[in-house]
């Protein structure tokens, strides 16, 4: 992932005119939190806010985008911590003294944690949530990046155009023989299996669990299961699996490094990371202010350029290079082909279904 970092400075195409256009219009609407740096400086100067994320190149991208900008604008210091561990976060919040002020969490944890009142409500007087698309706003978190599960394939095994172009084809062992790599997790596998079995996206939820497992049975013998992202990449690159389920950013990364992989956007399943504030943090307002900074288009564009993680603020696309847009999940044409995971459903069913998934693997 380090070479991703190395590209950072040169690849960010923050055209000055574009930048002024976006920030200008934002300021005109009174949206730009940093419109009056003098005020912000006096309020948060000398204070500290701890940001916890997932480490590696991803957190580095977050650091050099909104974290450093926030520190510069306000005179506060943003301390990086992590990697995020949900058990640690939970224990820390239950203990009453969370040391993380702002945390990057996945959508499933956001929804399950809300039940247990683990996060503070987003203070809309500080965070301008309307900068991000409505579907990425939540009462207890603000979406910061979007990514998706896609069909990825090795172009030496399936030439582009003759690759599986839907989940139904992905499951079709006759037309597309050979091993395929699957995510070792019940979500997204149930949705994918149901789509493969002919269920329409709009009728997916509530999931027909038995039907999904029955469909999964049909490819179990030809499946390799991956648990880490680098594994999902390696399986396709080495041709261990000719086609597989993989995150869009991982194909982008592999292709950038010269691997011959292709991506299919049809029926991509999207997921969101949110920034949240743990219940009981000492300085809630600075935590909210950091989240507000994250929503700005220039920072989201920067993260997208570095990681191929899609912005939640559509204005960011004005700053993203046209060669990158086709790789991003929220680019309108890609978003149209895909769907957002329904965490309302998963928050009530994940525990039982995760266990069922393990049982299915062992059966």
């Amino acid at each position: 992932m380090n070479d991703t970092d190395g590209r950072s400075a040169s690849r960010v195409t923050l055209d000055r005119r574009q930048f002024l256009a976006v920030s200008g219009s934002a300021a005109a609407l009174g949206l730009l939190g940093a419109g009056d740096p003098g005020f912000a400086e006096s309020k948060y100067a000398g204070q500290k806010v701890v940001f916890a994320s997932w480490g590696g190149a991803y957190q580095d991208a977050q650091k050099v985008s909104f974290c450093e900008a926030f520190a510069e604008k306000t005179g506060a210091s943003v301390v990086q911590d992590g990697p995020v561990s949900y058990s640690k976060l939970r224990v820390m919040i239950e203990g009453g003294a969370p040391t993380w002020d702002v945390v990057d969490v996945t959508i499933d944890f956001l929804y399950s944690a809300v039940k247990d009142k683990l996060f503070e409500k987003i203070d809309t007087s500080i965070v301008n949530v309307n900068r991000v698309e409505k579907k990425f706003q939540h009462e207890y978190g603000v979406g910061n990046i979007v990514w998706s599960y896609n069909i990825g394939y090795n172009t030496a095994v399936f030439s582009p155009g003759k690759h599986p172009q839907s989940w139904a084809e992905f499951f079709d062992l006759k037309r597309f023989p050979g091993r395929r790599s699957l995510r070792d997790r019940v979500n997204p596998m149930l949705e994918i299996a149901l789509l493969a079995d002919g269920v329409k996206i709009e009728n997916l939820y509530p999931l027909d669990v038995d039907r999904a497992f029955k469909k999964l049975d049909t490819i179990k013998k030809d499946a390799v299961f991956w648990t880490t992202n680098s594994q999902s990449q390696q399986l396709l690159i080495d041709g261990e699996a000719g086609v597989g389920i993989i995150n869009n950013g991982r194909i982008y990364d592999a292709v950038k490094k010269g691997s011959k992989l292709g991506i299919e956007w049809n029926e991509n399943m999207q997921s969101v990371d949110y920034l949240v504030v743990p219940t009981g943090v000492k300085n809630k307002s600075i935590a909210m202010a950091l989240i507000d900074e994250m929503t700005l288009p220039e920072h989201q564009a920067k993260v997208a350029e570095l990681m191929a993680l899609a912005p939640t603020n559509p204005d960011a696309f004005k700053l993203i290079s046209p060669s990158l847009s086709p790789w991003l999940s929220t680019t309108p044409e890609n978003a149209k082909k895909g769907f957002l995971v329904n965490e309302e459903y998963w928050k009530d069913h994940y525990k039982d279904l995760a266990e069922k998934w393990e049982a299915w693997k062992l059966s």
């Binding site: 561990s85 949900y86 058990s87 939970r90 399950s112 070792d184 179990k220 499946a223 390799v224 299961f225 648990t227 880490t228 680098s230 594994q231 390696q234 080495d238 041709g239 261990e240 994940y350 525990k351 995760a354 266990e355 393990e358 049982a359 693997k361 062992l362």
Partner: protein, 270 residues
């Protein structure tokens, strides 16, 4: 020399263990009976759902197989080291210790590269004409056992080696001079004398193997889930501390029983 007078020497270690080990373990054990409410429901869940019993069986079988392979590979290796000249001995001990110096994750990924269908081992075998079809060496139990043996072999070799070096070579010379063929002198003299090392190595490898989860997750197939993977899932994904605690209790009990058995056997051989 009285051990009691010196017992304060171990006080810091005991205090550290109490804080960072005994307390958390006790806390987890407590939760297995108290979370989400008091009772034995967590243990009942483990018995009622085939998933947990299967994973438990997997754990014992995989760990047992790994122990056996380690013993078969480790005994001749330890014997060679114990009877080698000092230079070769140093080299071999070094080679045995190498796995300790690289991270478990790196080693596991290295095995993925070696064992896969287009990996080094399959390519070599294909080119030598020994096989026509690539072997499935990974994403199944074979992969798990290979990966775990590599990591756990030192835990077998080192205790064995330390016992074997202490076996007086004059015993076997005496047996030979009295007309015992090599095999019977090995079986009747050398092997019984090496038994404490065998048992220590066996129990170490078996007990450590019971708790493995990264290797089976990365090198195993869908049927190779081990109990530690389920504990990890309960804690970090599902937040079910009670069930995790119950699984941990079972694992701890299994390990303790293994240790107790070996203690007894060692005591009996003396």
């Amino acid at each position: 020399m009285s051990i009691d007078k010196r017992s304060w020497l171990v006080a810091p270690a005991v205090a550290l263990l109490a804080v960072v080990f005994v307390y958390p373990v006790f806390w987890l054990l407590l939760r297995s009976f108290s979370d989400p409410y008091w009772g034995i429901q967590n243990f009942r869940t483990l018995v009622d759902r085939p998933l947990y019993l299967r994973a438990l069986a997997n754990t014992v079988i995989v760990s047992g197989s790994v122990t056996l392979v380690c013993l078969l590979l480790g005994y001749p290796l330890a014997y060679t080291i114990a009877n080698a000249g000092s230079r070769l001995r140093r080299l071999l001990v070094f080679a045995v210790l190498i796995p300790f110096w690289t991270s478990l994750l790196v080693r596991t990924f290295a095995w993925m590269v070696l064992l896969q269908q287009k990996g080094l081992i399959n390519q070599a075998l294909l080119r030598l004409g020994l096989i026509d079809q690539p072997l499935t060496l990974i994403y199944n139990r074979v992969g798990v056992i290979i990966g775990m043996v590599h990591i756990l072999l030192p835990f077998m070799v080192l205790p064995l080696y330390s016992v074997l070096t202490r076996i007086d070579p004059s015993y076997t010379s005496a047996a030979a001079s009295l007309g015992a063929p090599p095999l019977s002198s090995f079986l009747r003299i050398y092997l019984p004398l090496s038994l404490p090392g065998v048992l220590t190595g066996t129990v170490l490898v078996f007990a450590i193997g019971l708790g493995y989860y990264i290797t089976p997750a990365l090198l195993g197939g869908p049927g190779d889930t081990m109990i530690a993977q389920l504990i990890e899932m309960q804690v970090s994904e599902l937040g079910r501390w009670g069930l995790a605690g119950a699984l941990a209790v079972i694992l701890l009990l299994g390990t303790s029983v293994a240790f107790a058995l070996v203690q007894r056997v060692i005591a009996a051989t003396r």
